[in-house]
Point group: C2
Chain length 232, copies 2
Amino acid sequence: MSLTDRSTQNSQSQRILWLLEELEIPYNLSLHYRHKSGPRKGRAPPELAESHPMGKAPQLVTADGRVIAESAAIAAYLITTYDTAKKFQGDGGRNDWVRDESLTSFAGASMGPIETMKLFLDIATLQTPLLLRPLVRWMMGAIDRAFTGPELKQMLKYLECELGGQEYFMGKEPGRADFMLSFPMDMAVEFGWVDLGEYEGLKGWRERCQAREAWKRGLEKGNGYDMGFVKK
Amino acid sequence: MSLTDRSTQNSQSQRILWLLEELEIPYNLSLHYRHKSGPRKGRAPPELAESHPMGKAPQLVTADGRVIAESAAIAAYLITTYDTAKKFQGDGGRNDWVRDESLTSFAGASMGPIETMKLFLDIATLQTPLLLRPLVRWMMGAIDRAFTGPELKQMLKYLECELGGQEYFMGKEPGRADFMLSFPMDMAVEFGWVDLGEYEGLKGWRERCQAREAWKRGLEKGNGYDMGFVKK
């Protein structure tokens, strides 16, 4: 089995590396690098399209040669196939598969669009020629104040409430929803969009995730997980 | 069991109504209406937040009173619980659960962000005061030509290839991935972002979906599925 990572920066692959390390299974890691300059700066390199037509990372090549490209599907496949001890499948009660599906979809289909837009608003301002920048900054700021800013805050408030007093979203151990939520949460914090000081529960959850040995091992094996490039 | 729909326009609820009708199970439908004016024009009404803190539709209230708010999770719950004949779970071979997870995630976590951005680019232009509109239209067009436009085309090309010669993405009958993909596909066509004439397979797939009696019944029960409001 092998995993294709891309980056040096802000790669969604870290959450899959984290999961692979939690499962303690052997895998080959193939690292790729984003375009460093030119019109596709920061985008995925063309060789990623050879293994999957969307040309994005991460991609998982399973032991029997199947390529899976969506992180939520990769995580589901890995947990279903290799978590025979059922450690990462929720610990029962409300921490069941419906919750896992709901929070996994929330991370991708609800937080994903809002954070993509927030990232766009940030980048649009930074890439505008100096003369127009104040106007564009004002426009983008107005959109964020009216729409994306409040939406993201509501999402974090909702997640804080969903976590409740639990260690992880899926109970005493992380489940797919925790792995999947780690990326949009890291974006929100690292890009400076939210102050986790306002969300005690989420702050503790993130610290617990990042204190895990498997998280640290994943971080070492990947080629960087630095979202600083659009920091203001 | 009951379903909360919102709209009169472009509601994601249609795909869930379609699924409910395919499953031929009884349900109560509670219709809500978007704000018609004011600063929250087009957004969800406040009463939706009483049943789920995110305040969005659709929401499914299960027979035992649980509220599920993410469409991918609602669809998974309905199919797992009520599709005892396994009609909507893929017909084997490559049409298995990994494919279902992959394409479901693709609809929400990959197409979702790109289409949200495209919608934003369209709306930003329309909402700009007349004097600034040419400038903003040029800016938004440049972003679309450089990024969202090519991305969406690549996505449709990928889906065309994934469908191959099949009736539906999950085989001879639609599966969760088909229900989930119907919304982003409808957005792409109805907002005029793509011409399905270039994608013979997807064109046929969409016609087959919309020719199903369950699709039509869903459409009649909902309160409208008209995305014309941002048509150019």
